[in-house]
Point group: C2
Chain length 323, copies 2
């Protein structure tokens, strides 16, 4: 298996530049004063389609051969919207396999962006099998959400961008925290950021019950989480680190941090209050790890990735109640 490297990421930076947004590194003087440390938040909810996944979808779609007319993807929602939107820029049809319990906002967003949504039961059916069958029937190309080189390289663009933004402001961070599900964003970030800041410790953050990455890192090999686990962090409730992402993350990542659903909700509330940014539960776990003491941030400069903002209204109101 060919692993992506920095050259793949650098090529993706050029490829997605006309389509994706350079998201800001946000900060809040009040939040910093409250926490006793400097926090910089890479605001991917402001990315096109509301999450970092537009980076990888755009890279993957732009790399397709000219004769591809249909793509198939499976996703809890953010990859879905991203692939639908990226496919539209090339006039390609997108069929998206989504869990039936995915947030309505994500299903609706995918449809409005021209995607055709097919639902499945997250706990009893295999999205990979459904996706493969659809791809065969429609002579379509599958765009997997992880363990796929164009996807990892595409999300590595976030690391290159972060490095540029830090250099522009003459900042050397003490540590970086990024959420992880399948591990693709984290792996991309590692490739993109460690090229410029080879010594900065990078941590992966996960929801309780889905700490397969932390366990895998501790064990030195891929571990699966318990199938009965549940979390509100729908974007990153994957069962196991990816085959392609884990070797990269094992080499680059210093440690795994685990947060509760309430930690994620509190981080969403504080992002609303201090950063004026809408973050979804799964997108808030890295910020949650920093804000709830899962890692020492006192007197340090900590960069966290807020990975997406596609959240339903009842869940967001639940987060605001944490204040």
């Amino acid at each position: 298996m060919d692993l992506p490297d920095y050259a793949d990421v650098a090529a993706a930076v050029t490829r997605i530049a006309p389509f994706a947004r350079r998201t800001p590194l946000l900060s809040s003087p009040r939040l910093d004063a409250m926490m006793g440390g400097r926090l910089l938040i890479k605001a991917e909810p402001l990315q096109v389609t509301g999450s970092f996944k537009y980076r990888r979808a755009t890279n993957a779609v732009q790399m397709l051969a000219d004769d591809v007319t249909t793509v198939v993807a499976w996703s809890s929602g953010n990859h879905a919207q991203a692939v639908a939107c990226a496919a539209r820029t090339r006039g390609i049809k997108a069929i998206i396999v989504m869990p039936e319990d995915a947030p309505e906002a994500k299903k609706q967003g995918t449809t409005e962006l021209g995607g055709e949504v097919v639902t499945y039961n997250r706990y009893t059916e295999s999205r990979e099998e459904i996706g493969a069958a659809l791809a065969e029937r429609h002579k379509a190309t599958v765009i997997p959400p992880f363990d796929y080189l164009p996807v990892i390289a595409g999300q590595g663009t976030i690391g290159v961008e972060m490095a540029e933004q830090l250099r522009d402001e003459n900042i050397t961070p003490d540590q970086v925290i990024c959420c992880t599900g399948g591990g693709g964003l984290l792996a991309g970030l590692c490739l993109g950021l460690h090229e410029s800041f080879p010594d900065v410790p990078i941590y992966g953050a996960e929801p309780e019950g889905f700490d397969d990455f932390a366990q895998s890192l501790a064990a030195g090999e891929r571990q699966a989480c318990a199938p009965e686990a549940r979390s509100i962090c729908d974007a990153i409730v994957t069962p196991m680190p990816g085959k392609m992402t884990f070797p990269i993350n094992k080499e680059h990542v210093t440690g795994g941090l685990v947060v509760s659903d309430d930690d994620a909700l509190m981080a969403m509330a504080l992002a609303w209050q201090h950063l004026k940014l809408v973050v979804e539960p799964g997108g808030a776990v890295a910020l949650a790890a920093a804000l709830t003491g899962k890692i020492d941030i006192t007197g340090k400069t900590t960069v966290v990735v807020a990975s997406g903002g596609n959240v339903d209204q009842p869940m967001f109101e639940r987060a605001l109640k944490m204040l």
Copy 2:
């Protein structure tokens, strides 16, 4: 009375660059599809202290003589936080006169940023008189919220930045909409933007009951709104256009648009849903004018200023209920 011109704005751009943030011009493919026109949103809630007012506060504070130890400002909240934060960067004490019914988030924010808050009754007392008395007692310099050259020039930086961002993306907008209270942001925007895009129509947007600018523009001279008017758009419920701002706006602005409180709440909800941006009621009136048909946006490129995001939780929940 010396009116500010483009040279004052250009000087402010250099002066505030080390302190203020270059806020993004956001957009949403879904929102554009829904509205049948292209919307670009200048996202000032992402500015330091959550509103554009940090631009002007920084410009004014950086222009102070070295022997100034204390400043006094009056504000419904955003100017307060901005002045407190800007003063802190120079080690200057800030005393802020705020209405007793200002949102808690704004009062608390001002205190946390080191400001000393003095409250007054918005409907029976004069903040100008209270501010002047405090300034005399503390040998302090007043930083007025409008009709003050450094303030208008400072917020003109938003127009210069917007022009640069539009040029970078090869976009010539069909129209620009900006909220107006005292008229200072609008006047600054006109000076900054019309230098590069002299022909683009610029509109002012206001809440119902506080449409003093629209009335003044129609009458050709400054008109006051009825003293019994009330609106949830606390940031821009000023009684009358400024003496210094109105001559500038009269020359540059094409027309005034008026929105209801419900229009503003709906715009807040759609900004949450599609832009992942937290906007306060007064900061949402320009977006509200565009989204609720107060001006034709079909097939056009419309730039709107979202001016601030400092809103209390109950008001934000009220907005989310509009969806």
